[in-house]
Subunit: 189 residues, 2 copies
């Protein structure tokens, strides 16, 4: 298969994977189902993605990193851009349905637990780099624990979107941004 | 069926429901599967629980409310007791696997979305009553928004347990308790 043909196949297979995850969860993710959904031959799927957990991981990575924006250079703007982008991604029903399917699968299946750990260590490392940057620039108290700050940053929207299933409004983005800055700078006093 | 016999049947059926939800999620929850797991006749299950979504809801309610403790009368202790109890429930793998199954199911299936909303409105109302009590007693700034306080109270452990899949340690309970009191009282100044 040429590179261009493989790339087309890959896009179609990944779309099929996300459709199956959204409608049926990880339980529905079989080679037969992906073949039926994508029109790609089962043998092609087997050959290129022998491991379905790895395929789900790749498809989710792709979704996580598409249109990943450049964050503002100023740490206050950077933090704001991060929250806006994070809310946008969580508000995308496909993104959140895939995320929830991964979380659920990883509670029942060790193969997906690894996928899930990888996806979340990426989220955490992106959030952590925003926080480290803001500490370096003096916006955030440098003594604050980074893991705790990451939790403060990502937990509220994840809870609101994944657990209570509400959309995140622009106003909630502004409020969380102010609240975090207030909390993280007042520790200095 | 006598009341005592029905009660025995109910306990066995609920155990079977939680086993199926933990091992297979909502996708696996069928009358055949519950009958096979419990040894109770399919006709008995159909007759008593014609709606599987309602059955899953009842089983989850039962799990949520068992050993529900009396909270300390002093609001500071009450908040602490609430966090200890909440961490204990989330650390129970059956509880959290059922919770995750419900969350996942409710993203894909309207019947379960209602179950989920009911379960979470109960969690929220219990947390909200703790917060209202603490506001009345003067421990928490009465101007603080209750919904926001509930989110501050429940989101960190839910994120840690459901999303990052770590156990909640006694130290994390103490830290969140101190952090919340500090945050909620400093708003007064």
């Amino acid at each position: 298969m040429t590179d261009a043909r493989f790339e087309r196949t890959r896009v179609i297979v990944f779309q099929a994977v996300s459709q199956v995850l959204v409608s049926e969860g990880l339980v529905g993710l079989t080679v037969d189902r992906i073949a039926a959904e994508s029109g790609i031959a089962r043998s092609t799927i087997y050959r290129n993605w022998p491991d379905l957990a790895a395929l789900a991981c790749e498809a989710f990575d792709e979704l996580m990193h598409q249109e990943s924006l450049d964050l503002g250079a100023d740490p206050r703007t950077g933090l704001h851009d991060y929250l806006v982008d994070y809310a946008r991604r969580l508000n995308d029903p496909t993104y959140t349905a895939m995320l929830v399917a991964l979380i659920e699968g990883s509670w029942r299946d060790d193969a997906f637990a690894e996928v899930h750990r990888r996806a979340f260590s990426q989220t955490r490392s992106r959030a952590a780099s925003i926080i480290r940057g803001a500490q370096k620039e003096g916006l955030i108290d440098p003594r604050l624990d980074i893991a705790q700050c990451v939790e403060d940053l990502v937990a509220p929207f994840l809870y609101r979107r994944v657990v209570t299933q509400n959309r995140i409004t622009p106003r909630q983005v502004e409020e969380l941004h102010s609240r975090l800055l207030e909390r993280w700078t007042s520790a200095e006093k």
